[in-house]
Structures are given as C-alpha cells and as structure tokens.
C-alpha cells in the first residue's frame, strides 16, 4: 500500500499542504499589505464583503494577510528547526551508538551537559550575542532540539547494532560508515519520523512562546505566536483576533501529529509481515 493509502496521512497532509498554499498565495491576492496601518478601520470584525475576511487589528492592519504571514513563519520554523535537529541528532546518535564504548560515553556525556543548560536562557543568550536574525532563532531551536533526537537515535542504534544483519555485514567486510548508512540509518526512519512529529510542534510552540515574550520575530513581521499575543489584549472586544490564529496554530500542530502517526504506521507495515 502506498503512503497515501493511509487516511491519516492523506487528511493531515492535505490540510498542511492546503494551509501552506493559502499562506503563500493569499497575501499576494489580497489588496492589503501586512505592514500598512489604517486608522479608520481599527478592530473590524471578519466580513467577507468588507475586504477583511479575518477582520483587522488594533492598528487597522488586515488580519488575513498578517495571519498568513504568521503561518509562513510558523511553517518555516517547523522545517528549518526540524532539519537542523534531524541532521545533527541522527548523525551524532548513530555514530555514538554504533561506535560504542568510550566514544559513546564521551559523546553522550556532552549531550547530558548541554541538556543541563537552561534552554530558554540559552536561546535568549544566542539572540543577544548575535544580531537578531530571522533564521538564527530557528537554528537555535533546532540546535537545542537535536539533543533528544540524538538520545533516541543512539538507543535505537545500540539495539540495531546487535542484530544479525549487522554482524553479517561486518563479516563480509562492509566498512563502518557504510554499515551506518546502509544498515543502521534506514532502520531508524520509523522512530525518527515519530520523534520529528513531536519536535516540530515543540519547535513551533517555542517560537510562539519567544514571540509572545517579544524575543521572536520583530514587528511589523509576525508569527502565529505574536498574533495570539496581540489577540489576547483584545480578547473581550475582538475575540476573532485571538481565535483565528490560535485555531490555525492548533490545526497545524494536530496535523503534524497525525501525519507522524500515519507515516509511522506506513513504515512499520512496510517491513513486517
């Protein structure tokens, strides 16, 4: 059965693709601009005819365009942070687990040490030390998230290393890097994907949290987290300013989770009878 045979994959993947397309195309279709203010139209409720399908914010900016800009940022976080944690985490964990012994101990103690650093503090330091850069935030999040990934991959590698097909490869004379690439890594896909679907929402939440604190993206740029933050201030008079970005955030997070579930089922079923 192909991966699209799984309804969880089809539905959650479809939702994510649809959201991504709207976020890319939507702002371009709208007459409004995400940064321009309009003091005659503050906090308008959503109307289809009035040109503000999601309403407007306290500075009169169109919330549809701003929400779509926020979705772009959020999805970008998801992609960049997860690629960073995937690449570092899998490589590090697979090497530590496969080589084993002292190398493993040293590598994993380093992970433990990094783990002990207060994470938010670490990100804030990074943001202060370097100029505030859009991409830097994401890389920082990924660079912290890889620790979990490395631990999980190492554990899995330790058990794979004992499997007989790895012994068979050693006997034949397959080199260690090749064993890791050909025999260990493909068998990690299932668990890595499951774990990625846990880290992606985590990265999105951290970005939202940083933006909420004012440390994330800077005005007039925005993200779903920053929009929720804005919305909270007008919760009583203009609930849509909170509900729409918060709802979208929830839909995106859940879609990633379901996508991960479905992909795991797919990879499991492919290799067990």
């Amino acid at each position: 059965m192909s991966v699209l045979g799984y309804s969880t994959v089809r539905i959650s993947g479809g939702i994510l693709v649809a959201i991504a397309i709207i976020a890319l195309v939507g702002p371009w279709m709208s007459p409004h601009d995400y940064a321009s203010t309009d003091f005659d139209n503050l906090l308008l409720p959503p109307t289809l005819s009035g040109g503000h399908p999601f309403g407007s914010d306290s500075l009169g900016r169109d919330l549809f365009v701003r929400t779509m800009m926020g979705v772009r940022v959020t999805l970008l976080v998801a992609i960049v942070a997860s690629i960073v944690s995937l690449v570092i985490g899998v490589a590090y964990g697979a090497v530590a687990g496969f080589v084993g012994g002292r190398t493993d101990a040293a590598m994993m103690r380093m992970v433990d040490t990094l783990y002990a650093l207060p994470f938010i503090f670490f990100v804030i330091l990074l943001l202060v030390a370097f100029e505030r850069n859009f991409l830097l935030i994401f890389v920082a999040i990924g660079a912290v998230n890889w620790l979990d990934m490395a631990r999980i991959v190492r554990g899995q590698t330790l058990s794979l290393r004992e499997r007989e097909f790895v012994e068979a490869a050693r006997l034949t004379g397959v080199s260690t890097p090749r064993i890791i690439v050909r025999h260990i890594a493909p068998n990690l896909i299932g668990i890595v994907i499951v774990y990625l679907t846990l880290t992606i929402p985590q990265a999105i939440l951290v970005e939202s949290f940083l933006s909420y604190l004012g440390l994330g993206v800077q005005e007039p740029q925005t993200s779903l987290g920053a929009l929720v933050n804005d919305g909270v201030n007008h919760m009583e008079g203009a609930s849509w300013a909170l509900l729409i970005p918060a709802g979208l955030l929830a839909v995106i997070l859940m879609s990633f989770n379901f996508l991960g579930d479905g992909l795991r089922d797919f990879f499991d079923s492919r290799h067990t009878s």
Binding site: R163, E164, F165, E167, A168, A169, R170, L171, T172, G173, V174, S175, T176, R182, H183, P186, N187, I189, R270, H271, T272, S273
Partner: protein
C-alpha cells in the same frame, strides 16, 4: 460421550482462512497430538477452545466441553472453565508467567480465583503441587520470581499452575520447544507422570514427541485436518500425502544414512580457544575454555551441546566477531588475529556465516537483490552493475530461488526462502568455510530437509567445508562427518559421526543421544537420561564440569579435571571413559 468435541470449526482473519472446517473429539484421559508446520492453524485451534482468539478473528463452528457449549459461552462461563477444567501450558513460560509475581502467588491466584481453597490452605496446596512437578528446593522457589528460575524450572511451574486446579483437559502448546533436548525429555516424562487421568491435547511440530507421548494424532495442513487416527496406525501407514511428506522429512537418529568420513587436508584449526565475557561487576563468565579442533577440506564438523555450552561463542570468536581471550585460529597456514575488521580481505571472503533466524539476519529495509549483492560491492568493486546482477542471479539459482524474488523485501519471504537468501549471500563470494549457527533450527521440518540437501549439494560441488552448530542430534547425524560435543564451554568429546552415535565415550554424549525423541511409536520413549540443568557458567563445578549431573561420577571426577584422551580414534575428556561401556 467424549470430553471435548470440536465440530466444523473455521477461523478467519479477513479473507485469510487459518482454520478450515476442523472437527475432532477427545475422550476422558486420552492423549492426542495435534501436528502441523508453522501456519497450519494448530495454535489457533487450541486458542479457540478456550475462547482466547483475538478480536479480529471470525469464528464459526461448535465446541462442546463436557456439558458446556464453549462457542456460545459468555466470558463469565468461560472463566469458570479456564484453568479450573481446562489447563493450558504455553511454549514460552517466561511470557506466560507474570514477571512481577512470586511463583507461590502465581499458583495461589488459580486456587483463589476458583475458590478451591481457603486462604489458609492455599500455601500448603501450592507447596504440594510444586513438589509434585519436581521443582528442586520448592520451599525456596515458592518465593522466587520467574526470572530467577531456569527455563526448565519455569516450565515446571507453568505445568503446576495448569494442573493445580485438577482440570479434566490439559492443552499444551509446544511446551518443550524453547527447551534443550535433555530438559525436554524431563518435562515430557513429568507430563506423563502427573497427568493421571487428565486428557491431553499436545500441540507440536515434533513428530518424535507425538510418537512417544500421544495415543492418537491429528495432522493439520494449512488449516485443514488432513489425517487423524491412532498414532501407531498413522506412523505405520500414513494415508495423506502431507503426512507422508512430514514423516519422510524427519531424520531418524537411529537409522539414517551417514556421510563417509572426509579425507581432505586441514584447512582451519583452533588451538586452545577461550572466550569469556565480563558480567556484572568483575565476574567473568567463561563461555569457552581451551577448545582445540581442526577442520578438513570438504568436511562438515557439527558442534553440539545444550544452550550455554559455548557453541556460538566458539564460532563467533573464530570469525573475530567476539574477542578471543586466548588461543589461536589458523586458516590455511596463516594465523587469523584480532577482530574481523582487521583481518585480511581474502580471509574475510573465505569464511562466511549463516545465522539461526533469517528474519533477523536480513536487513528488513533492503531488497533481496541488494542483500545478496552487498558482498560483491565490497570485494569486487570493479564489477559492472550487469555483471553483478548476473552473479546475484546465479547465487539465487544455486539455492533454488527464481529471479522473481530479486525485488522482494525479507518480510515478503517465507522462513525457508529467507534462509536461502541468507545462504546465497554467504555463498556468493565462493567461501572456503561456511559456519552455520543453528541454520535450520527455525525452519519447518520439510523446509529444513531442503536446506540441508542444499548445503550437502554445494559441498559436493565446491568442496566447501562446513562448521555446523546444532542442538538437534538427528540433523547432525544426517549431515556431519565429525562431531564435537561441548558442555559449559569445555570440549568433552570429538569423534567421527559413526563412532559417536554407536560408541559414545562420554556419558554426556550418550545422554544427549538418548534425549532425542525417536519418531516411531513402536520405540518406547527412553527415561529422561539427565537430571537437572546446566549449572551457572559464573560458578562452574570443580573437576569435570559435568560431574554433578553424571550418573557415573566418582570422587576423582569432582577433584581433578579429566585430560583429553584418545580411545579408538575418539578424543574424550572423561576419567572413566575406558571403564564404562556406553555402546548401543
């Protein structure tokens, strides 16, 4: 009226029919064997009797036990029958016993659930039962957790818990498959002894067990009941082709054609091999100690012994997969040293290994083509893709697989096909020595014979030398030239095939041979030749390691280590080898 009546039972999973219109009955006190290969539906049939099928299963048919219609019974009614009136023993006692309950409480639960004894009487009843199943030191084991017991003791506990409520029927699903032959003989004997008038449904793939322990037998083939009748009659004149095929595939240890001794030059030798592993803390577990052997060109040497005898460790050390503590390996005049990664390329290509479980020996993410061609990528990197594919095809053809399997994943193969792929991978480089670590143990009898034939054919064609690890002496007898007997990592006896089986010199060898069930109902099963189980390797007995279980042991055996001696061409390590006569 019979005790159990199974009528037109069918079990389906989706479109897949695993049991197809099976009917049989069991009388009070009768012992019936249910035989079939893996996937024949024998376990499913047994589970359906107790209403233990998984929820996806679709069941049809009638099952009556005494006065209860089991197929229509509610869960509550079933619970009154389970354990109380039908006891069940599973293959793996470690899975069937709750790891968090002490043995005593485990058994007490059965009595309490069915209110067969007051809380005060329970302990006494449980103790009595534990003693009946021959649990040594029952007082202490009463308070032990399952993981603290050996495999054989666990199965005794399992048997105790199945019989403690005095059921009318005992269902035993492969009760000895996970055990060594010597322990299997003990458990089967115990089963006979304590069963009294409890009827027995014994599910097994081993025709030897059925021959020795069942009055009647049922043969299943892919969910259909193809033959049933008194065991003696079925063995004497099997009616169905499948039964005949099953019987033909079982090697008879007492009458089998044995290969003549090989006469080639020595190709691989081991001298004083020792392997030890570090256990918790500083303790060292001595897996192999001072083993010498030499393999000739074109010869098959079998390495036999119970689990924990060091068979696999010896082979892995020779191949450089685990470090050798002391001793040396010489291949074609050159010493092999260090881990496999540091050995010379041509040595690695000449020595290959086939594993026990093909499911774990093949990378589940690779297609057959890539699995088999991997050794070529390493050793003949210059080969073009086309030449490589040609070689892969030739290797698969050699093991009897058509090229339609090239693109399959391992899970799309049956056990026998997967093992052939593993053998093709080992043979593609044209090795000189093939190590087989229980290579046929996980296969059904009919497939097993095909794989053995394949190995013998390759040997005849290419002069391959084989080191064949096995716990199955009937198989060993049919394919090996010489046999090495290991016990607790020590070499006890080395002899030519013919000599070993007709004139064993070591009491342990003789016991191993006697423990093998003979697939012939006319031959009465021998009394279990060995008591107890292998002692802990962390704390080996002094003197001869075998003396605590040896019926011929004298004082000298516990005092000094017996030297290796030569008696009429057999090398044997036993103080009394020239005094006792074990010939048969």
């Amino acid at each position: 009226m019979s005790l159990l009546e199974v009528d037109n039972v069918s079990i389906r999973y989706g479109d897949n029919t695993v049991v197809d219109d099976v009917s049989f009955s069991i009388d009070r006190g009768e012992s019936v064997g249910l035989v079939g290969e893996s996937g024949s539906g024998k376990s499913q049939t047994a589970l359906s009797i107790l209403g233990l099928l998984s929820r996806q299963a679709r069941f049809s048919g009638r099952i009556r036990f005494d006065d209860v219609e089991l197929d229509k019974a509610t869960e509550e009614q079933l619970n009154r029958v389970r354990a109380r009136r039908i006891g069940m023993v599973f293959q793996d006692p470690m899975q069937a016993l709750n790891p968090y309950l002490r043995v005593g409480r485990q058994l007490r639960a059965v009595l309490r659930c069915h209110e067969l004894a007051t809380a005060a009487e329970c302990d006494a009843r449980v103790m009595e039962m534990l003693e009946r199943v021959g649990l040594p030191d029952a007082q202490r084991q009463f308070r032990a957790y399952p993981h603290q017991l050996s495999g054989g003791m666990r199965q005794r506990v399992m048997l105790a818990s199945a019989l403690i409520a005095g059921p009318d029927l005992l269902i035993a699903d492969e009760p000895t498959t996970a055990l060594d032959v010597t322990v299997q003989a003990q458990i089967l004997e115990l089963l006979e002894e304590i069963r009294d008038d409890t009827a027995l449904l014994l599910i097994t793939h081993d025709l030897g067990i059925v021959a020795g322990h069942c009055e009647r037998m049922l043969v299943l083939e892919s969910g259909r009941l193809v033959e049933s009748g008194p065991t003696t009659a079925v063995f004497a004149a099997p009616q169905h082709a499948h039964t005949r095929a099953l019987l033909a595939a079982v090697p008879r240890i007492d009458r089998v054609d044995i290969p003549p001794p090989a006469t080639g030059q020595s190709i691989l030798g081991v001298d004083g091999a020792s392997v030890s592993y570090r256990e918790r803390g500083k303790q060292r577990l001595q897996a192999v100690k001072g083993v010498n052997m030499s393999l000739r060109c074109g010869e098959t040497i079998a390495v036999v012994g119970e689990s924990g005898s060091g068979k696999s460790s010896l082979v892995r050390a020779m191949l450089g997969l685990v470090p050798m503590e002391s001793g040396r390996v010489v291949y074609a005049g050159t010493p092999l040293e260090g881990p496999v990664e540091r050995r010379a390329r041509e040595h690695r290509r000449d020595l290959q290994l086939v594993f026990q479980d093909p499911a774990s020996a093949l990378n589940p993410q690779m297609r057959v083509r890539n699995i088999v061609s991997e050794p070529l990528l390493v050793h003949e990197p210059g080969l073009s893709a086309r030449a490589r594919l040609k070689r892969v095809n030739a290797a698969l053809e050699q093991v009897g697989l058509a090229d339609e399997y090239l693109l399959r994943y391992p899970h799309e193969l049956s056990g026998g096909q997967a093992q052939r792929v593993a053998i093709a991978r080992a043979l593609i480089l044209g090795p000189k020595v093939l190590f087989c670590d229980e290579a046929v143990a996980a296969l059904d009898v009919s497939v097993r014979q095909q794989v053995l034939d394949l190995l013998q054919r390759v040997q005849a064609d290419t002069g391959l030398s084989i080191i064949f690890i096995s716990h199955d002496l009937a198989v060993v007898r049919s394919i090996s030239h010489r046999v090495l007997v290991l016990y607790m990592g020590r070499l006890l006896e080395v002899a030519d095939n013919a000599a070993l089986f007709s004139h064993p010199r070591h009491p342990y060898t003789s016991a191993l041979i006697d423990a093998v069930p003979v697939p012939d109902p006319v031959v009465a099963p021998k009394k279990a030749p060995l008591r107890g189980e292998v002692p802990s390797l962390l704390n080996p007995p002094p003197g001869c390691v075998f003396h605590p279980r040896c019926e011929h042991a004298r004082e000298v055996c516990s005092a000094t280590l017996p030297p290796m001696r030569d008696i009429a061409g057999t090398r044997v390590a036993c103080h009394r080898a020239d005094e006792i006569d074990l010939s048969r």
